[in-house]
Symmetry: D3
Subunit: 329 residues, 6 copies
Amino acid sequence: MDKFNQPIDAAAVPRFAGSTTFMRLPLAPSAAGLDIALVGIPWDGGTTNRAGARHGPREVRSQSTLMRRVHHVSGLEPFSIAQIADVGDVSVNPIDLHDALKRIENGLSEIIAHGSIPLCVGGDHLTTLPVLRAVACRNAVGMIHFDAHSDTNDTYFGNNPFTHGTPFRRAVEEGLLDPKRVVQIGIRGSIYDPGEHDWAREQGMRIVYMEEVVRRGVEDVMAEARQIAGNGPTYVSFDIDCIDPCMAPGTGTPEIGGFTTREAQQMVRLLDGVTIVGADVVEVAPPFDIGGITALAGATILFELTCLAAKQVSKSRTATVPGSAGAPR
Amino acid sequence: MDKFNQPIDAAAVPRFAGSTTFMRLPLAPSAAGLDIALVGIPWDGGTTNRAGARHGPREVRSQSTLMRRVHHVSGLEPFSIAQIADVGDVSVNPIDLHDALKRIENGLSEIIAHGSIPLCVGGDHLTTLPVLRAVACRNAVGMIHFDAHSDTNDTYFGNNPFTHGTPFRRAVEEGLLDPKRVVQIGIRGSIYDPGEHDWAREQGMRIVYMEEVVRRGVEDVMAEARQIAGNGPTYVSFDIDCIDPCMAPGTGTPEIGGFTTREAQQMVRLLDGVTIVGADVVEVAPPFDIGGITALAGATILFELTCLAAKQVSKSRTATVPGSAGAPR
Amino acid sequence: MDKFNQPIDAAAVPRFAGSTTFMRLPLAPSAAGLDIALVGIPWDGGTTNRAGARHGPREVRSQSTLMRRVHHVSGLEPFSIAQIADVGDVSVNPIDLHDALKRIENGLSEIIAHGSIPLCVGGDHLTTLPVLRAVACRNAVGMIHFDAHSDTNDTYFGNNPFTHGTPFRRAVEEGLLDPKRVVQIGIRGSIYDPGEHDWAREQGMRIVYMEEVVRRGVEDVMAEARQIAGNGPTYVSFDIDCIDPCMAPGTGTPEIGGFTTREAQQMVRLLDGVTIVGADVVEVAPPFDIGGITALAGATILFELTCLAAKQVSKSRTATVPGSAGAPR
Amino acid sequence: MDKFNQPIDAAAVPRFAGSTTFMRLPLAPSAAGLDIALVGIPWDGGTTNRAGARHGPREVRSQSTLMRRVHHVSGLEPFSIAQIADVGDVSVNPIDLHDALKRIENGLSEIIAHGSIPLCVGGDHLTTLPVLRAVACRNAVGMIHFDAHSDTNDTYFGNNPFTHGTPFRRAVEEGLLDPKRVVQIGIRGSIYDPGEHDWAREQGMRIVYMEEVVRRGVEDVMAEARQIAGNGPTYVSFDIDCIDPCMAPGTGTPEIGGFTTREAQQMVRLLDGVTIVGADVVEVAPPFDIGGITALAGATILFELTCLAAKQVSKSRTATVPGSAGAPR
Amino acid sequence: MDKFNQPIDAAAVPRFAGSTTFMRLPLAPSAAGLDIALVGIPWDGGTTNRAGARHGPREVRSQSTLMRRVHHVSGLEPFSIAQIADVGDVSVNPIDLHDALKRIENGLSEIIAHGSIPLCVGGDHLTTLPVLRAVACRNAVGMIHFDAHSDTNDTYFGNNPFTHGTPFRRAVEEGLLDPKRVVQIGIRGSIYDPGEHDWAREQGMRIVYMEEVVRRGVEDVMAEARQIAGNGPTYVSFDIDCIDPCMAPGTGTPEIGGFTTREAQQMVRLLDGVTIVGADVVEVAPPFDIGGITALAGATILFELTCLAAKQVSKSRTATVPGSAGAPR
Amino acid sequence: MDKFNQPIDAAAVPRFAGSTTFMRLPLAPSAAGLDIALVGIPWDGGTTNRAGARHGPREVRSQSTLMRRVHHVSGLEPFSIAQIADVGDVSVNPIDLHDALKRIENGLSEIIAHGSIPLCVGGDHLTTLPVLRAVACRNAVGMIHFDAHSDTNDTYFGNNPFTHGTPFRRAVEEGLLDPKRVVQIGIRGSIYDPGEHDWAREQGMRIVYMEEVVRRGVEDVMAEARQIAGNGPTYVSFDIDCIDPCMAPGTGTPEIGGFTTREAQQMVRLLDGVTIVGADVVEVAPPFDIGGITALAGATILFELTCLAAKQVSKSRTATVPGSAGAPR
């Protein structure tokens, strides 16, 4: 088992001690040799209302020290079947939006070049755009997107096309997302314009309002989501504001009536089988958090995503490299 | 569309900028010409335990800047079909209970005299009594009442008949409420006296305990509620403590085991069709709030009520003034 | 009715006034003459991560001033059918773990010697071990245990057998618990080792994961729990972290995806009929709490447990002392 | 030494354990036999802006558990030279101002009747009026008053003569205070009206602005204060808002530029020699406090006042009862 | 007196009621006719570390409702001698730095065009640059600058010349500031580079470290500051982080060892006689504030500046328009 | 310059990004080659009241990211004249006091063995005892000790000799401290027993009460302190509770009337010339902190101590290794 990186053992070093990398894993200088790269994107320059997600990676790291080694439901031990590490934060620029988008794309491209699956912690939702530019540099990908907001607006404040309310309109326009393989789950709350969601639907994106999830149940909706994503490469984007503000108050644009964390965990587990080429947890804004509970929710979702990705890595290794049974690259 | 007041556009002026009226609407000097008057009642002199609801209107206004123009489920655009404004706070007196009750009644009477529907933000629940004195000045009204507490106690601290635990007993005694058309939903928590709820039932009021809502479901209970209210003029009173304290901690008398905001939104939406002559959101007590989430819940419920009232106004205008299709008065 | 201790009447003395004993009951010098003894155990020396539960009894007392006299669902009036008091805190030692365990056991033994049922407020979960040493001093007892964690680990930090992660392994080893009559409900979250829960199951303990509760529903699970406990003497241990961190953030080891307080209340009410020989509410850690909501949840669960115990006392008095109908001992 | 009440020993029972009376002293059923009665006045019905001082006594009690037995500067051991206890809270009425003032006066009159010196913890500053009615029931007293505000306004909100901004105007009018023996120290901040302080000065009261204290130094100002009070019976009123809001944020009407706690302690110690017939610490409003620091400041000032009063009691006992050296009554 | 705008009277409308303009003054549609324009600049796009100052204007407005009409030391009544109003927030753009700087400059230019003195509430310190572009559009001005940081760095994050750490280097380069008439007071804390302050000194700017203020005293330093500013037009820039973080925690770059608010008030009062052509209070970042104390400090400094500006306006009116004694323009 | 470890440059990587070691220095696997080792001691098992200092190192690291490279008063650049790194946390045991003391001593002994000067961040004050066992393993050292408490009590809770109230009594008894070379500065607050400080004085320790510091001034007291320490090896222990609770609320045993951070910085700077063999900042308890200000104060004091130690290292290197001018070992 120890051929892979192991987290610091909390029965030896208490959780409040030691350094605060993602899940107490080693801090790697690059993604070289990693199956899965946990990476922070501390930038919120696309935020139109309350900034603060720039502090997200630090707090999610801190709360992720509560994660342990084994998933209690699936029995999966991600750190025993895949090589995983914290690769630190990508370079950002809090003052210059265009430079920041470029730096983030470069940082992710380097991870992708190593063949690692990036699991990102934002940062506001605009950070997903440069991540997609790196992940979908060759072909458009599908996306399963958990959020209170569709984030497919066009422009803000005169003609600004790049904000955390517009990434997925840009991503479709840039050919990064295949809109027919995109599903947005949990959308809710008042909107600016009656046509706001129409554009998305016209592209072929599927919007599942929270009310529909409540009516149909999580399992049914996730079955549809898996079908929409199909077998192709798929990105998973988890905006923490899909969760109810009482469970995730530390975010910039809270909307009441959200998911419980129980539902969120169940939804993420039901992604099993989807071909994940990258994922993120975004919009954790610690200055508005209370007692770290939003960052804890973010860290736990990151653990769930890590389990999924590790299983996929392990499976694919067994399948494709028959002679080398699970050896790390 | 622009014949009616429009909220400040957040894609032009960010939500953290500009003044903080209810839903970013204009501040009107009076209710003259308004279909719907949003009004604050910053008074908590009837509070028997933790005061603070006096600060409710200010914080609900602040959080209401997060509301947008269109209801995502119904597609309703309240500000396009009714003339709505913030008319400021009624005059109050934090030191003299009887003077305060008179001032509040006078403030509301003026709104009523303009033919506007008042949507009030308290203040503690005793503020509903003078509001009812204004709203039901001619005839008793029905009431759909969301709350953890029945608020039909008799007296406190020797013989005080006026506290936030007694308004509805007084309202029935004063002939403001028709008890047979009153339903209280979500009542829960330990009570002072076994006979506490009996008085209400003896008058003909219907108490639906939280446990009954959980058993029957929100839709079924709301169908009964609509039947109880019938077609007559009905007041809607929403005590924020009907919501669970984790989602609405900023209140004076929290009781665990409450509604989720998701259920609360659904219940309010199911009021569609009830003849609303006034409504309130009360007991938001910011000094006990956390990160503004209680005020955000209050603001969103206010938005839901505004949509209902706007639809009703629009319908009634079409119905009764055939030649003047939707023109503002 | 007044032959039993009554809480201070909030309609005479406001809740923010007067002293802060459990539920505003008298502070008794000992358990002599009491049917039920409410007792604090302000100790958290077994905590492996975030300490703070030492402050639990004080804050639960403070929030318990919100409790009233009558249970709104069952109509039960616990203070009218049983002699109940706050007996203060047992002696503790924050510096010496072994001395503390001895002091707690002694304190509880004294309560047991008076024939009172102890309802304890911790303190971390290791405090349950000395309580069980007192309660089960003659025979092993069954246990219905609500928690996010099984607390059946073996050792920590080199060979420390006594932490808040190990009490039930020790209790089984010491013959205090009959593992076949133990059920753990709500267990969830990542675990250290795949075999962590196997030991418990091998002893015959039943672990019901949160996911199973969600699938089967609370009523079905509690029916099984009552069957497991059977008619024998049973201890009820309620770790506040079984509740979701958004509703109970004030705890040392939060796990998302927990029970709602509504479910928690329902589960505790469904203990009706179990022979309770003692109970506790543990792991309320006020330094991590927000607005007192965790302590309020703890206080309300304590009220629910008090109702159960009072009913049991009253029943057993009627049954066993036919001539003295309900008189206090 | 043990002939007097002793606080619980923190080297035996940790500070977080046990009940939370003032300074861990016994809770006495009445003031009978006490030299000094520590009493809570949980009422803030006179507050014109932010209420919350009703919660003051409870939090000051909680923080006062940090007090120890010996004053480190004077070496005084108050609990060894005077009989002191917590007599609980006086009866109040949060709903009816006039009834509340009467109840508070009655509560204090009973303490006075026992010959005890009352040291009160408010409550808002209007509570000082009924206290003075009891303390000065026979003759006007002098007053040394620490505050940011003169509290000598006339009326509010139409003609309300009784608010926390008016007590000392009323007290002078009622003949309770001898204005020539009144000094107000630390007054600062913007005022309503240029004539606001003139009335006070016209009565003969001395107002020492904060700026004058800074210029002259605390010792010089306190020498003048002692001279103004002279040898006659003097009341000491300590409004916590005299301290800077960063050190005492938990108050209703904060004014920046206040005293440090170091200066406050020094000023109170320099009251040595004044004939104290009663004192209070008021306007501690916990809902606006942060981490209990305001209540801690209040508790420590209460300890300083207790030392002064105990010394005075001890001296007077030696002086007037030569044969019974220090025996408790 | 009432020829000028008056704040809402708190003895009629309590401070928690009514709208939250600066100091409860009317909200004016433009600066036309105003002697002094209070204006918000809700923008923090130049922040290199913790953002949040975009929320500054809203919270300073809220806390400014605690200001009253008369300065207790000078006796000055600003609202009786000058026409003052809140002109709302200037237009900003949270997404585009260059557009934002242009919008802010335009907003201020309009105020300047009306001949009003702008008193600004930021916003981060980069907002002072476009304000200076408007205020010093014809001639360079002097500046008295209270801050923990010199803010004369050159570039950040590759070559970004515009951040809240660089405004005064840019302002000197652009000829907006006359460096010989600039004094920076309270500078402290570790710095990036030994030459960081040398550039400023080489231009002729005077840096007074906090340690020098402590050694010489506030009066002496302010005498020097007045001499440096001389009789020419002078801008006053007050960065809230000049105050100690315990008194002003709500800021992005706290440095311990700062001014007390008492010293800050004294320093601002000692600006009397300086020719103020504009002023600001910047870097109040509410998401990091505690109980509103930073915003309260900001609001009170704004009141002090308003008194100074009103006195200057009144004096100049008397001097220059002999026949029209004090009439508003 | 780059022959020594440099902190991450905040003008390239923003302060909210990257990992959170002490002052953004590299994390070294051991103290080998270091002049100065920054080390965390996350343990608070000696705490008698409010625990939480176990979380101190993590939060001080986080706040220390605000430190820059150059001391603005002395111009000293510590990272250019000494080899400094974060060596992580020593091993601890939160459950077993004796084992923890041994582990801490071992961890420090290893640092000492490398010839590095340890600058420790606690942890509660009992951690200083095992540090002294390592530092003074050969000869007793002197100590300059900043604190509100003397920490020379004897035993607690029955006969516990090891608590955070007793370390210096033990250290004298064990011959680790030369009491004649020990000075305690800032001691204040009520005490348990009149003889509590007598023991310390009898050993020859010098206690300087806060009141004496206020009277004599910081410079005079520190001159005496330097004289007491003399030229011998001296340990510096900085208990954060020497600072006033408003500036350092995050601590277990707050006492009002403390030092300002300005005074604290000045005192530490006046240690220049003392031969520092080790130092610590202890009792930072984040669960009781507000907005990180206590941890920020702790981090800044650590920076001041680092500057002192670096200067001493640099001086001694020049002095003792004439041929190798400043080369790192």
